[in-house]
């Protein structure tokens, strides 16, 4: 190759990686459904949230190519979730503590 003057990223991810990510996403969907059918007490909600978060991370890293992205793109991706965290943490630090008894 003598056309190195551009640095357009070429997607060299093998097809099996995409198929493996797909298989994990499908399995995660089925596990999410099965786990919701069993009474696990307080744990039902965190399990659903953790599985969904893992699935989202896989999509971002592999399908959306974050793993091959520039650092500047990483800053934007991470900043999005930092601000989402601020939104939730500040809101729930209010709502979840409103009924705490004084003393």
């Amino acid at each position: 190759m003598d056309t190195e003057e551009h640095e357009v990223p070429h997607d060299v991810t093998p097809v099996w990686v995409y198929l493996a990510v797909f298989a994990v996403l499908a399995a995660g969907t089925i596990i999410t459904y099965l786990a919701s059918q069993v009474d696990l007490g307080w744990a039902n909600t965190p399990i659903a949230l953790v599985i969904a978060t893992i699935k989202a991370a896989l999509v971002i890293l592999f399908f959306m190519h974050a793993i091959h992205s520039s650092r500047l793109t990483w800053v934007v991706i991470i900043a999005s979730f930092v601000w989402l965290g601020v939104l939730f943490v500040l809101t729930f630090s209010d709502y979840l503590t409103r009924f705490w008894a004084i003393n």
Partner: protein
């Protein structure tokens, strides 16, 4: 006109915009710009989901009963349909970066078909909910639990709002796919220029991620009853 220090005398790529040094820089700017848009989308859906969680913590029983009105099988099937569409979208981008025109076209068509399948299933669910009296407002005639009827109605406001916003994104996504498909068929994309396919993929995968969260939030809430 003299062009000082401009030593590349070759013909520029037809899709290289003149403000960029080269296609690599243009590609980087395109994906970065799409991620910036997606960060606003993350906070847009995040705001609605935050409101959803506030009411879920206040009315856990109504949220569980509201979720029980959903057909988890339909939601699960649609989740798989969207994941398959994300796989075909990712393969479309891969084919574009490798310059496989036929592969891009086939994968984009499959992505559109799975997207339309998702919307068709959603339409079946919406029709059923309408007839069950589960549309908020004057049409809300559902009354299986009179004591918490209005709180279940509030859940359904979030159900219709969140799935409606998501479905709107899907409709826009299918429209964008038509455009990208048209460009692919005209042979616009190849290893040096496929940023539009890549950016299309970023949008499509984001909409998939939203649904990955909506499925457990709206269809699968376990009620502990004590």
């Amino acid at each position: 006109m003299t062009v000082a220090a401009h030593d590349d005398d070759h013909v520029h790529h037809p899709f290289l915009q003149h403000q960029f040094e080269d296609l690599g820089q243009q590609h980087e700017a395109s994906t970065l710009g799409m991620w910036m848009f997606l960060s606003t989308e993350i906070l847009f859906f995040g705001g609605v989901l935050c409101a959803y969680w506030i009411y879920r913590t206040i009315y856990p029983e109504a949220w569980a009963i509201g979720a029980a009105q959903q057909k988890a099988l339909w939601g699960g099937v649609n989740t798989i349909v969207l994941i398959v569409s994300s796989l075909t979208m990712a393969l479309a981008v891969r084919n574009a970066s490798l310059g496989r025109k036929r592969g891009i076209v086939i994968m984009l068509i499959l992505t559109m078909l799975f997207g339309l399948t998702f919307l068709a299933v959603k339409g079946i669910e919406y029709t059923a909910h309408w007839h069950e009296g589960l549309f908020p407002g004057t049409h809300f005639t559902w009354n299986e639990h009179p004591d918490i009827r209005d709180k279940v109605q509030l859940f359904m406001v979030f159900y219709w709002g969140l799935t409606g916003l998501h479905a709107l994104h899907m409709v826009i996504g299918v429209g964008l796919l038509v455009w990208i498909l048209w460009r692919a068929m005209r042979g616009h994309f190849g290893p040096e220029y496929y940023a539009p396919v890549e950016v299309m993929g970023l949008y499509w995968h984001f909409v998939d991620i939203v649904w990955i969260f909506l499925f457990p939030f709206l269809y699968l809430i376990h009620h502990h009853g004590h």
